[in-house]
């Protein structure tokens, strides 16, 4: 190819998305986030109880808007880290496995753009999965309890419209630790060149960090561990909104994500592509 007509990152991103939607594995993660709210609401309906000791747990029968918020709390333990890892941990390693890395690296796009597109797609997938869960949970919760004003953590009520806006904002804040998990997955995927190892490794790191939070004597570390950042969105559900945990989560998540992304980027730029 002649110089001067080089594809941009957006083109590579579009094709990375097309590859993603052509793979069955992609839909496995989405199936999880669709089934989970449905099962949760069915269980609530059948047993007519409510989750104990969980923020918004006692409001699930008052407003369907509480359902996605409860699921954000439950999902942070393993579901969302797993769904995020399914793509982030696989997106480079699968190319190694298929031997297709050499195919795309011998065209007219620099390695940096390919990496950037892959990182963006991993993030996009995590976002879509979260969004799908939110939508399905609102619909399922609405069908079970109806869409009524939501009681905030401060005890005040907000309208359905305001509640939906707060939920959307909460999903945005929730994306911060999700992106940190995606960055860890991307690093493992780039370094290990093994899809299964990277996906499981990402999940294990996530679970390990949760374990650390409950170990005696390590309580001081808790604010700096990733699992804690999955609760930062709750600051939005107070009146007035408490931005402190959100700001804290932003830099703590960046502390995890940036070094992982930089390391993965540098490894990807310099690594030998010897397989396939």
């Amino acid at each position: 190819m002649r110089a001067g007509r080089r594809p941009n990152t957006a083109t590579v991103y579009r094709w990375e998305l097309r590859k993603l939607i052509s793979q069955k594995r992609t839909y496995l993660g989405l199936a999880f986030v669709i089934v989970m709210p449905v099962l949760f609401v069915v269980a609530l309906s059948v047993r007519n109880g409510s989750p104990e000791g969980v923020a918004f747990g006692r409001y699930v029968h008052q407003s369907g808007l509480a359902v996605p918020l409860v699921l954000l709390i439950f999902g942070s333990i393993w579901l969302f880290p797993l769904v995020t890892a399914l793509v982030a941990g696989d997106i480079v390693a699968a190319e190694d496995h298929n031997g297709t890395l050499k195919t795309i690296l011998t065209r007219s796009v620099d390695r940096g753009r390919i990496f950037a597109a892959k990182a963006m797609v991993a993030g996009t997938y995590a976002f879509v999965a979260l969004l799908v869960m939110g939508i399905v949970a609102v619909i399922a919760g609405g069908l079970e309890a109806g869409l009524h004003p939501l009681t905030t953590l401060s005890g005040t009520k907000v309208s359905v419209g305001h509640g939906l806006a707060l939920m959307a904002a909460a999903l945005g804040v929730y994306m911060m630790p999700m992106l940190a998990v995606a960055s860890i997955g991307l690093l493992l995927s780039t370094v290990t060149r093994n899809s299964a190892g990277s996906v499981v490794g990402t999940l294990l790191i996530s679970l390990l960090l949760q374990l650390v939070t409950i170990l005696p004597g390590l309580g001081g570390l808790k604010p700096y561990l990733l699992p804690e950042q999955f609760n930062a969105w709750q600051g939005l559900l107070r009146v007035p909104a408490d931005w402190a945990p959100i700001g804290h989560a932003a830099w703590v998540c960046a502390l995890y994500a940036v070094p992982c992304l930089v390391a993965a980027y540098l490894v990807f730029l310099r690594r030998d592509v010897a397989g396939g």
Partner: protein, 323 residues
């Protein structure tokens, strides 16, 4: 239209390429020089380091030492720009099995930019895959994937085509078609670097060769010169072999004269063989048969890759070869 400066550079230049994995030297100070218009055979037994060298040329792996340029650009320095007029594949071409052949080509064309996408139909037609283009690659045979690899390479309108064992796994008809295609592309002015362990393929297609053994080049140069350098052996049948042997041994320029079955065999260049035939007649020996046994590439290949001979033994035939 002025010729871009890049085009004036040699399609391939490699100097002192070295790749060491732990304590294994996969490629040992390889020098290569492929000129415009060459069909250059990169020949060696399996595991000799051909593919590793090609990967270094394409920037897929980093050399431990040395450097390579394509049309004057080093892929490790210039990135994808170094591949601007280059296409090909190393080992088997690989595609996304869950996409159709056409979708795979659309993908790589998107990564090529320019007018690559507009060449998809003609490329598919050229490799006779138009009717299977809408099937997933997971259902393709090895030969079909090879052909799709060629189609993918041609989307880039390359000036240099690097092919790694392109006929591997093809049936005889597929091999014939592949060679015909390479001949045709070369005939259109494309420079081809062809890695192969198939001697007949290289002998049929290439004008220049590099022979690699255990990661090191043992010969680089013009194929015809390599053959000439091997010295021509002759077979001789006469009416009096005893006398003929004496004449051969006495003739300046003739060496290794000996009986071999019912014949005599000796080594000499063409001029000396002519003089010998006159000397034999003058000695009263009639010639029944005098025929040249030109060394085949196979002879030379095995001599260079299996024998004790090193690069130095091929030195007389070397053209600008490595140290």
């Amino acid at each position: 239209m002025p010729v871009p400066e890049q085009d004036l550079q040699a399609p391939v230049r490699a100097q002192g390429l070295l790749k060491v994995y732990d304590d294994v030297v996969a490629v040992d100070h390889v020098d290569l020089s492929v000129e415009a218009g060459d069909v250059y055979g990169f020949l060696g037994p399996n595991g000799a380091g051909k593919t590793t060298t090609l990967r270094m040329l394409l920037g897929l792996i980093r050399p431990t030492a040395g450097a390579a340029t394509l049309f004057g650009r080093d892929p490790l320095v210039h990135g994808a720009r170094a591949l601007d007029r280059v296409a090909g594949f190393v080992e088997a071409p690989r595609f996304y099995p869950y996409l159709t052949g056409r979708k795979n080509l659309e993908l790589v064309a998107a990564l090529d930019g320019g007018g690559a996408a507009s060449r998809i139909d003609s490329s598919l037609e050229l490799v006779e895959l138009s009717d299977r283009a809408r099937h997933r690659v997971s259902g393709y045979s090895h030969g079909m994937r090879q052909r799709l690899g060629i189609a993918g390479a041609l989307l880039r309108e390359p000036r240099l085509l690097l092919l790694d064992e392109p006929a591997t796994g093809l049936d005889p008809a597929g091999m014939r078609d592949m060679r015909a295609l390479i001949r045709r592309l070369a005939g259109e002015g494309m420079t081809v670097l062809l890695s192969s362990h198939l001697l007949a393929e290289v002998e049929e297609l290439c004008n220049r060769v590099a022979i690699v053994r255990s990661g090191a080049i043992v010969f680089e140069g013009v194929l015809a010169e390599l053959k000439r350098s091997a010295g021509s052996a002759y077979r001789l049948r006469t009416t009096d072999d005893d006398r003929a042997l004496q004449v051969c041994q006495a003739q300046p320029g003739v060496s290794d004269a000996q009986r071999l079955g019912a014949d005599l065999r000796f080594t000499a260049d063409e001029r000396v063989a002519g003089e010998l035939s006159v000397a034999l007649v003058e000695a009263g020996v009639a010639l029944l048969e005098l025929r040249s046994e030109t060394a085949t590439l196979e002879d030379l290949f095995f001599r260079l890759t299996e024998g004790d001979e090193t690069r130095n033994t091929a030195e007389p035939a070397t053209v600008g070869g490595p140290a």
